[in-house]
Amino acid sequence: MRTSSRTKATTQALAAIFWKGVKHYIRYPGNFLIYLFIPFLFTLLIFGMGQFVGGGNATANFAARTGTSNIIVYEILGSAVWMTSWVVVEDVGVALRDEQMKGTLEQNFLAPVNRFTLLVGISLTDVVITTGIFFIVVGVTLAIALPSSFLNLIPAFLTLLVGLIPMFGIGFLFAGFVIRFKEPYVFTQIVNLLFATLTGTYYPVTFLPYWAQFLSGILPQTYVIDDMRQIILANQTLVNLYGSVFVLLALALAYPTLGYAIFKRIEKRAGVTGEFSKY
């Protein structure tokens, strides 16, 4: 048999996993459409509730607490990042369980491909999906509301890209938990709702109690959402936001390392218990 060199083999495997994911998205398009609509629907829900509770003072109160009167853009940015984090947790975290239920997980694990390559390959598909969500959801919003230049999309997108790395780390962590404990959607739904509550998706995190703000501080989404709002609504640059970019970079190192270490530990245990074959 003719095999590829190590680097070429890894690239080839990554490309294959990436394209398999893309083909599945194209052939099951419903998920992607839902991901595009949910940010708008949740924004409308929050907007409606805000108007109902705040009455005539709603916009003024909002501006006083957030520094902007552009409620729709503020909420859409939160929703778009939440959706991105949702995709990562759901796709990376559930992907292996999904493969397990389909019967294909063992087939992947039978191949001499590295487990890390498998997880990164799945993540690469998500980079494309989340990029799609970002440009469609945020781009459409900017086109309608136009609070700032379209050029601000670039630094906002860069923030998202850096933020995706620790989010994938969280995904790796959940991939392990899901193999061990099964019931993937119990995990992902609870976690996604917690993320929406803790990361400033619909309101500033300063409204949370201190202990909850500590949790917000260790979640990458908090920084991505805040930076995006600063860039698009307050015309800040990445240089001005260096503090939070630095934290994001640190989290980008910490979460994948921690996530993969825990995944490997659970995977090793799964070999002992025969967990891979259990549905």
């Binding site: 048999m1 003719r2 095999t3 590829s4 070429k8 083999a9 080839q12 495997a13 490309a15 294959a16 996993i17 398999k20 083909k23 599945h24 052939r27 099951y28 389909k102 019967g103 294909t104 063992e106 087939q107 992947n108 694990f109 039978l110 191949a111 001499p112 491909v113 590295n114 090793k268 070999g271 002992v272 218990t273 025969g274 891979f276 074959s277």
Partner: protein, 331 residues
Amino acid sequence: MNPVEVQLLSKVFETKEGPLFRKAPRSLVAVDSISFGVPKGEIFGLLGPNGAGKTTTIKMLCTLITPSSGDALVNGFSVMKDQQRVRENLGVMLTGERTLYWKLTGRENLEYFAALYHIESGYGKKRIEELLDLVGLTEREGTLVENYSTGMRIRLSFAKALLNEAPVLLFDEPTASLDPQSSRLIRDIIRDLKKKGHAIILTTHNMEEADILSDRVAIIDHGKIVRLGPPGDLKEKVKSNDIIEIEARNISDHVAEALESFSEISKVAVTTADPSGDKGLLRIHAEKGKEVLPRILEFLVRKQTTITKVSFIEPTLEDVFIAETGRSLRD
């Protein structure tokens, strides 16, 4: 050294069973200190009933399950220490048709797995064409697997196991759910692979398949190898007895137990002869079968069984299993 060397391999699953908060730990011995070797160009059959430990053995060999003790070497690499190298030297077909991506085409499935096996892409394309042709799927290579028949999916899964031209091949029930024509095709390919020098391990609960394909068979029950040898030799050992097969209605285990008290009868096994469970099949190992048969029939009539067929048969591997365990492979 043989391409496959299994040395005192065991697997004990530790589980907890019982009501919530009162679960008690329980150990289940799935494979119990088995040892065997498979040389180049040999088809080695693992034969046993469901739950005997065949699939657990295969999964330990292909690194999906970690052995509790012992070791196995695949082309010289240990399943305990060199898992990546073991996987490089193995082609595996696990049982079932859900081992493929149904939303990918046949060709896309093979391309995907070729990449995971690090097969160089140009060579991989050629290899995929050869394999699609080999299993008769060239014309349907662009069809999504969800639109394949069960037989086509199993043939594709079989082709996938041959992608990396591994020296050691593991096939877990390769012809289960296949029509006779596809089964013949797979068996012919397995024979060709043997001629090319691959070491092949085949698990099956189909005794005819184990008999016609395997050079040697290990009969496995409750995780232990109870007999090992060429099928002809194993059958020779039970030839000293006549084997009587009786198909009848109203056969119970009590009837079988009572028959075993006949001095001429050494073993009796009961299986269901039809899916409705109405008819049973008695397989009786007896000395001087022709002499004892009238008494057996008389006894069965007295026990109100309705006999529909009686025959003397040549021993099969199933009879070897019955002689060793007192149970049928189809139990």
